[in-house]
Symmetry: C2
Subunit: 496 residues, 2 copies
Amino acid sequence: MFEKLDLTKTIDDKAYDASLPLLKERLGILQRTLRDQNIPTIIIIEGWNAAGITMSTHEIIQSLDPRGFTLHATDKPTDEERAHSFMWRFWVKTPALGRIGIFARSWYSRALAEKLSRVSWKKLLKDEIISINNFERQLSDSGAIIIKFFLHISKEEQKIRLLERERNPLTAWLVTPRIWDFHHHYETYLPIIDEFIEHTDTDYAPWHVIEATDQKYTIFKVYSYLVKTLEKMLEKRAAAPSGERSGKGKSRTITGFPKTTVQRKSSAGSSHSKEECQRILDSLQIEMLELHYLLFKRKIPFIIVFEGWDAAGKGGNITRLARHMNPLGYHVLPVSAPNDYEKNHHYLWRFIRHFPKAGHVAIFDRSWYGRVLVERVEGLCAEPEWQRAYQEINEMEQDYVASSGGGIIKFWLEIDKDEQLKRFRQREEDPLKQYKITEDDWKNREKWNVYEPAVNDMLARTSTRHAPWVVIESDEKWYARVKTLKNVIRHAGDLL
Amino acid sequence: MFEKLDLTKTIDDKAYDASLPLLKERLGILQRTLRDQNIPTIIIIEGWNAAGITMSTHEIIQSLDPRGFTLHATDKPTDEERAHSFMWRFWVKTPALGRIGIFARSWYSRALAEKLSRVSWKKLLKDEIISINNFERQLSDSGAIIIKFFLHISKEEQKIRLLERERNPLTAWLVTPRIWDFHHHYETYLPIIDEFIEHTDTDYAPWHVIEATDQKYTIFKVYSYLVKTLEKMLEKRAAAPSGERSGKGKSRTITGFPKTTVQRKSSAGSSHSKEECQRILDSLQIEMLELHYLLFKRKIPFIIVFEGWDAAGKGGNITRLARHMNPLGYHVLPVSAPNDYEKNHHYLWRFIRHFPKAGHVAIFDRSWYGRVLVERVEGLCAEPEWQRAYQEINEMEQDYVASSGGGIIKFWLEIDKDEQLKRFRQREEDPLKQYKITEDDWKNREKWNVYEPAVNDMLARTSTRHAPWVVIESDEKWYARVKTLKNVIRHAGDLL
């Protein structure tokens, strides 16, 4: 791709002076349209060192209302970012509905800088491209617009600019040995970047490679691509049926799963007494305590997800699980309906934000599986949205496990419908537990049969090798707690 | 204080087993009351190394609903935290309404660890105590409950525990040379901590020092103090008039300011032409570019606040100011009404979160001064609240400047009422500017005379040496932009 480019392109001053004010005005108007239509927009500016990333960013934001955009200067990760999986720091920065996120350098630069030295670039191209394409496709499917620029200059031009910067006392300190090193290996990186761009140039997140030798030409090109692409995309949306505009109609990834049924028993018919279980539990908790120390010491993060029928015992299970764990090394995340702030983001955003850092354990009391359970059953999202979610969740979990070196285990707590009724009544009678039972619980109970296929589909489609589901027969509380703890210990132990 | 303590205190098993379940139950109920009454609660657990901070934290959270608390394990700051002022990392973690924030170690430990080595401890006691007491008083005034524990053990007991931990292969790596070093200087720290506690033991945030030799006694004491203090505070609130419950009636800090008038002119009668101003502006912008590099290089943060009448030209001023600044080194923060999420926090919280890190410039388009302008005028907060705000803001700004080494400058953009009318009409007529003028602007205009005394009070009471107000005569736009830029350059230049 780079070979075909003509790096001598320029724009004459007259044409520039005539067109730029108009482009700026149009971009300003487009920003308001994007805001009014609640569309999140991601603009990525990548390129060689000294190719004009800062300058182009600077120019773009001149036309934008500062109330509607956030600029992210992507640089070396902070130590908090380093303690999370690679995509985490970008996930948390994805723009809310109607906002523009501008990334001056992005996951592309960081993937090259952080991954390339460690593994061969063929491997990079394989893993990172999959991960990045999934990320961008998911954002696009949820309604985001993604536009990517790569500013291209020749090695000679780069050298001239770096030397210029070195001569200026204000900027000299910015030209680090690392930047020179990158310059000296220009020819090594060229084909890598070329292939990287080629494989991430998708219909949902296209690249615009810009010949960036002439400064005015660069600005003109960035502006005109930006305006043209946004106008084209807005037109396309206006023409699409209303559902598709917000990503609600896209069903790119429905792959015609067969109707699923999963064997789920609510009772294991355990013959252990409560006392026996308590004894086993005591010793498992000590094991868990030791395991927790080792996870912490070896900086391995671990995610434990609890889903299940109301009153199936998620809370009690979590308490027993954490009984001896060091409170500084885990956190429990109780999940309820998203607030307005969270609703303005991709549905995975509010969970990924709380993913554990290296060495920490996160216990989710309900989770992102709400997408394919309550949101599906209650019609809170459209069918293509929850249909797509199975694949999105699988990709997200796999990416997390692969890039963090951590683990995910998911528990479905199964109880019998009669057992649930018994527990509801107990809660109603106990003044200290009354707060635990609400009208919603009774309403959900009425929809038991509608939840059944949703639970089956979830278990069948999202139980993967890297993030398996384990069904916990929970009619006998004590048995359930023992089985949960045993599974956590086995799965986490495998990570050590 | 430490001398009076009896470190041999214990509790017998029978009393412990009888009382603890009751205390746990009461704490659970108290949590729900705090939630229902929208009270934010801060629980701080401090103490010597190995005194049982983790263990006590662990015990407390057993009784709490995980949906309502967040545990903060305060340790070495992350590099993002280090790039901000000392209190920033704690401000951003203050709990929302109805939530409990538990700090296992807190600003106390960090002040000792980070400040003590650098300056003499007498100086520490002076500066840090003022800063911490202000912080806690402000939170308390806004309705928060603050409870602080210090777990005390003898040097001998500490030694025994550290050796025990070293013998256990699971915990040995946690006993670092730094911890031993701290142990060896136990006698040095004892009087420092004693004085630190004494001077931060306030009626709004009292300390409970606990003899922590016996584990069960410690747990019992933490629980019973916690339950008793919370019950007492809730009773006090129930008895107080409704305003005071939420801090709306407290007016601790009204100090009877005289009625103020501040000389504000809307025109400087500048005879410079637009062209002359543009020439001056061009050269000032180059100066600003250089200054911005130096601030960045020397890691000095800088805050620029813009307030002023609607249509006074804040936006245009900001654009000219930032014309040549590197976009990666500054951000513009446009401030509008707080969203629900922000409303659940202290009114300063949503601004402090966005304070610039070392070397960065933050430009606020409107700011925390909304408290004493729109919130005062529109009755969005009670009189004691905005009366208190002058002092609170002064303290916060002074603390920021002192602890970050940065600067704050604040601009009030003054225009004539007729000039405003002219600009409103211009905006209405220009299709590209129509979006800038709303019904609210016209409504605010009607309240011009009600805003006048609020503006006067603000300028008179919050213009300080470390964070001065500068009135910008803004009838002539070009003059205004030049004066703003000149003042920024002078104030920021003084920081270098």
